[in-house]
Symmetry: C2
Subunit: 388 residues, 2 copies
């Protein structure tokens, strides 16, 4: 993180999705810690269960544990931040640990980590006594700008991502930008692919601003990171306000995720989530172009933001079209529409900010040949042919 | 089941809890099967996942599988109906089997069994793709008259019952009274303890009717069983209509469950659920009497219904007060109120149909000495002393 223009960032807002609302705080600098204690005290919890990523720097984990501990007895449960461990077995283990520590309905689950830990802790909070309070303390930019803004708490099955879950809102999200200091540049870039998705899918009026802020070295000031996060909250709030179960308008948040999830699954999570979504958007853009619903310039607009972000525009080596198509077939969006043989369900754009809606719904049943062409356009070492 | 006055029973009603509503059908006789096919066809499912109790008569299971199979492809998943297997590990297994079979958002989970299978299948439906449709086909009287009328879908942890779960409503409940033909008398009696709970807690105006219908041999006609089920739906609907998350008025449904759950847990489920709840109500009645809020005649009214039902009025041998109190301490109601040292949370009655509400809430913080006295009054071979 760029330390040259170091100023404390303090941003407080309320996020509203339908009937759900929660406090969303962004902080940097030491004064943030005492603000945090004040907020935690207001929760009047009889215990905290801190679900912490095993990969966090030990001093960060201990600082948070110490901070929570001054407010209420705190149980620490560790979880590995790997997609392969985001499953019911891991959930079972952390649930048992939480229950053995004497957790009650008045306790609060605190998720300290990225998306995987946030999801495990979120599903834990959703299921314990049929729902107790949840606080997110994301330690990654992706967490701050994306995963904590979803009310979906889910784990994977061996058949696919996020197949098992439910909706559960946090009572508070606490984003400490100082947590991002030690993040590798790749992780910042990966997270910003979701910001790019929001720009392309929801708030294209911020295209120029975001294009000018993005830098391939990913060395941002806290102010700029705060701006990206704020913009993501705006975009996500806009679509989720009246659709917090993500069945209609909010489907746009899944833009790029169909091919993206398949790539993540087939690489066992080695291809970063944001990168997979970025390449997934390029594949979707190519499909839209082939179907004649998206302009060439708009396809280029996808590529430009990804390149300014220093993110890949191709899938990693070794992925094959057949395998990707097979996983897409099992994708968890299946079933929104009656399946039509020979087609696959995709979310496509007609232009930035405007989804394609055949028959009024945001799902397009894309013929398999077009799907293959879209996927092949982002395969490693495949020349990206411009279609007529 | 008494076959002397064999007539087909056909009862259709809509159950409403808050914003939730679903169809509730009771049938006996062969014409019920084709009615079932009609209803299933209306669901327009692309697949059924039949979660079936391993202990069911094989011909019953196959008949249902065949019936479903005429409507849509049907995957059968078996689950053992034991409290010790109602956990996240079993859920994980059946979820994997369901997903491998190609289940989608348009599929329907069908629960064929008693409370344990209903809960496993219910939580499966709640979590698959964050919620797909659920049909209950209870095969026990307890299922028909109690468990399917709860929207709570939960599994046990090693620390206690139903610690992990969520709310999910079925789209339909199909009660085929013919399923009850092979049930042991003890299971009928056990189920009727929940009916008794409903009479004592919610609909005391049916006390005389129920007292006259109950028989210690448990040999009932389909008409009488249908009447018991109908009465339970009435009672449960009355309290849950505006409280389907069971946090306020519907807490009365937990009457007798505090001591009852502890007895179930400590006997590893060998002491039947309904029997445990029946004895739990007697213990609670004794506590109420000691606290001076319930009359002697009302305590006797508890005992009279249980005895007419042929149900036990004592815990099984070997259970100790200390162990029961320890489990109650960890009961899943903890946390409704700030814990007060030396007291335990109970639901108590002032009279049939009238809960005790100190401070306006249906939870009473009972001092440990009174809890022990209540529990000791139902211990095996303990003379049930009348307190002054």
């Amino acid at each position: 993180m760029n330390g040259s223009s170091e100023q404390a960032v303090g941003l407080d807002r309320t996020v509203r999705f339908g009937e759900v609302q929660y406090d969303f705080h962004v902080r940097s600098g030491t004064s943030g810690r005492s603000d945090l204690r004040t907020r935690l005290t207001e929760l009047d919890a009889d215990r905290f269960v801190l679900v912490a990523d095993t990969g966090l720097p030990e001093e960060l984990m201990q600082a948070v544990e110490l901070n929570l501990g001054t407010v209420a007895p705190t149980t620490v449960v560790r979880a590995r931040a790997a997609e392969s461990e985001k499953n019911l077995t891991a959930l079972d283990r952390i649930a048992e640990q939480a229950l053995e520590s004497g957790i009650t309905r008045r306790s609060v689950v605190v998720a300290l980590g990225g998306g995987v830990v946030g999801n495990l802790a979120g599903l834990l909070a959703a299921l314990l006594f049929r729902g107790i309070r949840l606080v997110h303390m994301p330690t990654t930019l992706l967490g701050m700008s994306d995963s904590v803004l979803s009310l979906k708490q889910a784990v994977n099955s061996s058949c696919g991502k996020n197949h098992l879950g439910t909706f559960h809102a946090p009572v508070m999200v606490w984003n400490d930008l100082d947590f991002l200091r030690t993040l590798p540049a790749d992780e910042i870039r990966s997270a910003l692919c979701e910001t790019i998705k929001n720009v392309l899918g929801i708030v294209p009026e911020h295209y120029d601003e975001v294009a000018s802020l993005l830098r391939t070295d990913a060395d941002y000031t806290p102010e700029v990171l705060g701006r990206f996060i704020d913009l993501c909250v705006d975009a996500k709030s806009a679509v989720m306000r009246s659709d917090h179960q993500e069945k209609g308008e909010a489907l746009i948040l899944e833009y790029g995720h169909t091919t993206g999830h398949a790539a993540e699954l087939l690489t066992g999570g080695r291809f970063r989530h944001g990168y997979a979504i970025g390449v997934g958007m390029l594949a979707a853009a190519r499909m839209s172009r082939r179907l004649g619903v998206l302009d060439l310039s708009d396809e280029h607009a996808h590529r430009e933001l990804l390149e300014r972000n220093g993110a890949p525009t191709q899938l990693p080596p070794g992925l094959l079209t057949d395998a990707l198509v097979e996983v897409v077939r099992r994708d968890n969006k299946r079933g929104y529409l009656p399946g039509t043989p020979g087609t696959l369900d995709y979310i496509l754009l007609e232009a930035p900010g405007r989804a394609h809606r055949p028959g009024g719904r945001m799902i397009t049943q894309v013929d398999e040949e077009t799907v293959r062409a879209g996927i092949e356009s982002v395969l490693h070492d495949q020349r990206s042919l411009v279609v007529a």
